[in-house]
Amino acid sequence: MRINGRNRLACKTLIKDLDISKPIYVEAIKGLPLEKDLIVDMEPFFQSYREIQPFLVASSTPKDGKERIQSVAQRARFDDTTKCILCAACTSSCPVFWTDGQYFGPAAIVNAHRFIFDSRDEGAQVRLDILNDREGVWRCRTTFNCTEACPRGIQVTKAIAEVKNAILRGKADVPAA
């Protein structure tokens, strides 16, 4: 929710950290349809999330044995974007998302990034095509609101930039080993 005009997790924002000599403003997050009090309809947010196929896509069988072995470097490539908890703080702080709610939003792009740059995944091209949409990554204006809002400290704007870069190159730069 919005506390004093900033998107924060209510469960992690303590009264002792706020200035209680002034009123504390508590509002519902912006950009999503308001249902009641502080409750918004999160469906458009999860709709975008589902559209980027947030699951491992792999048609081949692992080379030897049962595991898809990944090196430390390969795992580290997308480590930052695995931290997302789908709280919608980033997407509902994005001024482009506020305008008409059609933009995929930072959270969906972060979760696409998590699989696009995963060496075990084979669906990167499909996700890049989805985000190359009219309402995809090109609507990002790099205002960094999302990066500032993220309670998990994910470098959201950087992740979006990496996806833009991957679309321009036609492939994601995943470490070979």
Binding site: R50, R134, R139, K164, L168
Partner: protein, 148 residues
């Protein structure tokens, strides 16, 4: 435990690959033209406002003198096209953000028309410019023109 039905993932977007993507090329255009415009705009400002006598030197003869050189004709043509399309594309993204319904195509149409008209007019001025347009002009330019 019940089995949840999993929705089929969206795959329609994948078929759209290979088509001209205005949003992508618009984004690339903004970055590339932006870098070139830094040089063009500051070069233009320096030559017109700082070098020599500075801003006081700007008159009809100053423009005539500049456009006597193909270098400045190319410079100004590039400046006109890159800056105008850069600005118009920026306005287009604003319209896409804030204009709803019928207002959107209306504003976008107005933007397109004004951009085309300004580009045509500006290019015409640069390439059909006649330094001897004003016979009353004095100084070096007047001397050049009367000598013709």
């Amino acid at each position: 435990m019940t089995t949840e039905t999993i929705q089929a993932p969206r795959s329609a977007a994948a078929a759209r690959r290979g088509r001209f993507n205005l949003e992508k090329w618009g984004w690339i255009y903004m970055r590339v033209s932006g870098v070139v415009l830094i040089v063009l705009v500051f070069g233009h400002l320096y030559v017109n406002l700082f070098s020599g006598e500075g801003v006081r030197a700007i008159d009809f003869a100053f423009v005539a003198g500049k456009w006597a050189s193909p270098f400045w004709i190319v410079w100004d043509t590039l400046l006109l096209w890159l800056a105008l399309i850069h600005g118009a594309n920026g306005m287009r993204t604003l319209v896409n953000d804030y204009a709803r319904g019928r207002l959107r195509p209306l504003l976008q149409g107005a933007l397109l028309v004004s951009t085309v008209v300004l580009l045509t007019l500006g290019t015409l001025v640069i390439y059909t410019f006649d330094p001897c347009l004003d016979p009353s002009v004095a100084g070096d330019l007047g001397a050049v023109c009367t000598a013709r």
